[in-house]
């Protein structure tokens, strides 16, 4: 009996210890980022592009990378929506819940979700070489859209599956075709789609491996889709490998900016998900 209680006590301590460790690691990461990054963070960082001696620690900022990242995300989101919306609508409106095809497609989403971004990057680069494209804004958009497609499709599929049966019957009873019902479904799950977009952008904006060979890097803001585009994760990566301490500090500042963007996206997606719960017509 004693032993049993002792065992329970030990494991309780271990469990609480493990949880504290996880929390502690987070605090350590946040602390390290703030300590190195905060002093280097300035208004200039987020409002100017790199100046002449930027990579020696002189004036300039990372506007090129911030804008580049956002442009790639916007393009990739649109491309990915263009594919995932029809797929999700087909799965949920045209196929039965028991359909083998639907099961197969959903399984393939799960597998695609696990494919490392470096593989998407390598594949994307291969296709770009095949098509004679250089590393560019377009290339980055296409590869990132591949990366976020499974995330988006799965998240959207989950909300589309909750489309109420009664509403489906009500819409059909008005004499609507399946295609005309798509409009109703989209209206109903619009907040869910927004959540899916934010979720996938939050995941992809911090990914360096996918854009490493496909988007390129440049100190200016791209003005046409064929030009290379800088991205935040790569900005961090490149500056960190510089021997100049000021440049390294900026890398941590950039890391701080990127983390804040990701956290804002995650909070926003949560807010939309919450809103969705509230407005759901059941």
């Amino acid at each position: 009996m004693r032993l049993k209680l002792l065992e329970q006590k030990i494991f309780r301590i271990l469990m609480i210890g493990a949880s504290c460790l996880v929390l502690g690691v987070l605090l350590m990461i946040v602390y390290a980022l703030l300590r190195r990054g905060l002093p280097a963070l300035s208004w200039e960082m987020i409002t100017t592009v790199p100046g002449g001696g930027f990579y020696l620690g002189k004036e300039g900022g990372l506007l090129n990378a911030i804008v580049g990242s956002l442009m790639i995300m916007a393009g990739a989101t649109i491309l990915s929506l263009a594919l995932s919306v029809p797929v999700v609508m087909f799965l949920n409106l045209y196929l039965d819940k028991t359909s083998r095809l639907a099961y197969l497609v959903r399984l393939s989403f799960d597998v695609l979700l696990g494919v490392p971004s470096i593989v998407y990057g390598a594949f994307g680069f291969m296709v770009m070489v095949f098509l004679g494209l250089r590393a560019s804004l377009t290339g980055g958009m296409i590869v990132v859209s591949l990366l976020i497609f499974p995330i988006m499709a799965r998240a959207m599929d989950e909300v589309a599956a909750m489309f109420p049966k009664e509403m489906k019957e009500a819409t059909l009873s008005l004499g609507a075709t399946k295609f005309e019902m798509v409009r109703v479904v989209l209206r109903q799950i619009a907040p869910g789609i927004a959540t899916a977009c934010l979720l996938s952008v939050g995941r992809a904006i911090g990914d360096a491996a996918a854009v490493l060979f496909t988007a390129g890097y440049t100190d200016s803001i791209p003005t046409s889709p064929g030009q290379p585009a800088a991205t935040l994760p790569l900005a961090i990566f490149f500056q960190l490998s510089s021997p100049v301490p000021q440049v390294q500090d900026r890398a941590y500042a950039a890391a701080l900016i990127l983390t804040i963007i990701v956290l804002v996206l995650s909070v926003l997606s949560r807010w939309f998900a919450h809103k969705y719960q509230k407005n759901k017509v059941s």
Binding site: S173, L174, G175
Partner: protein
């Protein structure tokens, strides 16, 4: 109490007001004959050898204990049942003499000719206005003014206009549940059907709202054939012209309300009406 008397005053006014429709359905049409209907879902037999004849411009009530196939029968009328996985339907369903299960009949045309009012009101995730406009546009009403005219008309027809006239562009889900059900009725009428199907359409509503719906049905009967599933016998007594009694997937007795409800021939019907089972 005050609320009840007030609403009955309002209702009397509404009833006395003439109800004109934008379209004039054929007065002799909209009969529904069911011949030898069998429905299976998976391996289970849900409806067996159903023969009924539903007269036009009458309120037909389908009654029977829960699980007897009332709702299933109703859903075969506008071919909604076939969207359910594993459903097999055989037999004939003649709408004005034409089999709607015949090869080559477009299901959307069939559904357009019958408006469905479900158990719980189910407004589409749009504004009040859009809820009605959606169906109108599907069936070819174009132009803002024409659509608006229909929206106003059917909101008036269901007595909802005065309550929602300044809320036309708010989400329909913000209306009260009784208003939502009337909106659903207006939405169904706006696609200009010949038959109204109601699946226990008042069971989720408060007594006043159900009374409003019942009274609407009584007035709409002049232009439409109304078929409703109900499990409240008192409702059937109040408004039915024609009654179908079902038990375990079969039609036990069918006929004018005065006969089936007051002088039932079949023993099962007598037992059900006397309340021995429900």
């Amino acid at each position: 109490m005050i609320a009840t008397s007030l609403s009955s005053v309002l209702l009397r006014e509404e009833v006395s007001a003439p109800l004109e429709l934008l379209h004039a359905p054929n007065m002799d049409a909209a009969t529904l004959k069911v011949r030898n209907l069998n429905v299976h879902i998976g391996e289970q037999s849900i409806l067996r050898d159903v023969h009924v004849h539903i007269p036009s411009h009458k309120i037909t009530c389908i009654i029977g204990p829960s699980g007897c196939g009332k709702s299933t029968l109703l859903k075969t009328f506008n071919r909604l049942l076939e969207t359910q996985p594993g459903a097999r339907i055989t037999g004939e369903l003649l709408l004005n003499g034409e089999n709607i299960y015949r090869e080559g009949v477009e299901v959307i045309d069939v559904r357009k000719r019958m408006g469905l009012l479900s158990q719980r009101p189910c407004p589409l995730p749009m504004s009040v206005y859009e809820n009605i406009a959606f169906g109108c546009r599907l069936h070819g009403t174009r132009g803002r003014r024409k659509v608006m005219r229909k929206v106003v008309h059917y909101l008036q027809a269901t007595g909802l206009w005065d309550e929602v006239r300044d809320r036309l562009h708010t989400p329909a889900s913000r209306l009260s549940i009784g208003q939502q059900q009337r909106l659903c009725l207006a939405r169904g009428l706006a696609v200009e059907p010949e038959i109204i199907l109601a699946d226990e359409a008042t069971s989720a509503l408060d007594p006043i709202s159900s009374r409003i719906i019942e009274d609407l049905f009584l007035r709409l009967r002049q232009q439409y054939t109304i078929i409703m599933v109900t499990h409240t016998l008192s409702q059937a007594v109040r408004i039915a012209d024609h009654v179908i009694f079902m038990y375990l997937g079969r039609v036990v007795e069918e006929g004018p309300a005065s006969e089936v409800l007051h002088h039932p021939k079949h023993k099962l019907t007598q037992e059900y009406l006397s309340g021995s089972f429900s």
